[in-house]
């Protein structure tokens, strides 16, 4: 489903990702964890070509792209496979809730307006936002905005969903319901990659956890093994820090 081959990315002299190789199968829910600056978000954003790697090859579902040589068509093809839920929601500020979800259907998928709005409405119902269809994002709470963000990402029928710290900008009272929503989508068999610091959630939803540090894949394991039996010193040190914070 997803394959990263020899991916390298640096900002000036700062190496963010160092020769990353990774394969993810259909239906997997993969969580990227690691200290800040480890390259988690960059790795996620590469899959949507919001970051361009310095070198390497990326395959997502039916699309493959090589950083050494690619066309605009390759980029659109790659982006067409996945969609992203952002930490700060990034809803289109000048569009209503309904338009936020329907726009890509009308503009990108060339769906008829009526059909697009129907589909958008159904998705917004699914995420519990039916009563705010005509509101602008500025009038919604963080949790509500993120639900719309999830509906917008679902609208394009992605083969992979990417979540970039979807709850870290939220007030604590909204976190639970967004995580619940993500869990529901995962239960329907969606392939997902998440960056998250919600360790309890990660443990319950992820089928696989990847620990990144200094732009390298340090450990790649299932949640139970990683949290309970990890022998890796760096992983242990990171997890220990987290437990300390939770206490």
């Amino acid at each position: 489903m997803i394959q990263l081959e020899n991916i390298t990315k640096s900002y000036k002299k700062n190496h963010v990702l160092n020769n990353i190789n990774l394969t993810i199968s259909k239906g997997e829910v993969v969580t990227l964890i690691g200290p800040s600056g480890a390259g988690k978000t960059t790795l996620l954003r590469l899959l949507n070509w919001l970051e361009v790697p310095d070198s390497g090859k990326i395959t997502v579902a039916d699309a493959a792209i090589d950083a050494a040589k690619y066309t605009k068509h390759d980029v659109r093809n790659l982006r067409g496979q996945s969609s992203m839920v952002f930490q700060h929601y990034n809803l289109f500020k000048n569009r209503t809730v309904l338009e936020n979800v329907a726009d890509s259907l009308i503009v990108v998928s060339k769906m008829k307006k009526k059909d697009a709005f129907e589909k958008a409405e159904a998705l917004l119902k699914k995420v519990g936002m039916s009563d705010k269809l005509l509101d602008y994002p500025a009038n919604l709470s963080g949790g509500q905005q993120q639900r719309v963000g999830i509906a917008r990402a679902l609208a394009v029928d992605p083969k992979v969903m990417l979540f970039d710290e979807p709850t870290s900008a939220l007030d604590p009272e909204w976190v639970g319901e967004i995580l619940h929503l993500i869990k529901e989508i995962a239960a329907q068999g969606m392939t997902m990659i998440l960056v998250s610091h919600e360790m309890r959630f990660v443990r319950s939803v992820a089928t696989r956890i990847i620990f990144l540090e200094h732009g390298e894949l340090v450990e790649d394991s299932n949640p139970k093994d990683l949290f309970e039996k990890s022998k890796n010193v760096r992983t242990q040190a990171f997890l220990q820090k987290l437990t300390y914070e939770e206490e």
Partner: protein
């Protein structure tokens, strides 16, 4: 000895000066619209950093900002006829070099001037739109053009209207320079009436009131447009 200050004359002169108001408004409106079109094009050239054109745009903006408006009007007024003459000689065309109406020179000069200032406004407003908005467009696979049309430009307009309305108001006031190329706008009309009566102070009060009212009306109208363009933003109760 007459009165030192003659308010009656002032009031009597209003209608005569106002006769030239359509000319002033016409010049301001047409050059404003053309200026906006220039601004759109230039700001996109710079936003997208198009090779060759982008540095040229920079020179254009720098030149307009660095030279007085009056000089620019003179350059256009004397330059365009020469340019047409050169074209006639080179290509055997027969443009009527002396037949170009003065008002065309005024509009061209003011549009070029306003275009430069407004393009900087447009560019900074484009850059002021949160980069996350463009990323979100890309994340649902919109092209850059689609993103600009649906999301970025509408937000840019909301940001740009207050500074653009400043430019437009400056433009209205700059039309007062066109009397120098023998166009009878309200400024020239005032000079004519003033010269006849030697009551220049009164007549300039009349002109300043007319400019003031026109600018205030335009500013009010644009503030309404701004409210509409930013309707999606959260209101802060103060």
């Amino acid at each position: 000895m007459g009165k030192i200050f003659d308010p009656e004359f002032m009031i009597r002169s209003f209608p005569e000066v106002l006769q030239a108001l359509p000319t002033t408004l016409f010049i301001a409106f047409v050059s404003g619209v053309i200026g906006l079109v220039i601004a759109f094009i230039i700001s996109f050239i710079r936003y997208a950093n198009i090779k060759i054109l982008s540095p040229l745009a920079k020179v254009y903006i720098s030149f307009i900002r660095g030279t007085p408006d009056l000089v620019q009007i003179m350059l256009v007024y004397y330059g365009i006829p020469l340019f047409l003459k050169a074209i006639n000689e080179k290509f055997g065309t027969s443009f009527d070099v002396n037949g170009v109406p003065s008002i065309a020179f005024a509009i061209i000069a003011l549009a070029i001037n306003a275009g430069a200032y407004m393009s900087e406004t447009m560019r900074s407003s484009l850059l002021a739109v949160d980069s996350g908005q463009l990323e979100a467009c890309y994340s649902v696979n919109m092209t850059r053009f689609q993103a600009l049309r649906k999301v970025i430009i509408p937000q840019t307009i909301g940001i740009a209207i207050p500074p653009l309305s400043n430019s437009l108001i400056s433009l209205i006031k700059e039309t007062s320079l066109v009397f120098t190329i023998s166009i009878v706008d309200i400024m020239a009309q005032a000079k004519i009436v003033g010269a006849r009566s030697f009551r220049f102070f009164e007549i300039y009060i009349v002109v300043s009131i007319i400019y003031w009212v026109v600018c205030a009306v335009v500013a009010f109208a644009l503030s309404k447009v701004e409210v509409y363009a930013r309707r999606y933003e959260r209101k802060v109760d103060s």
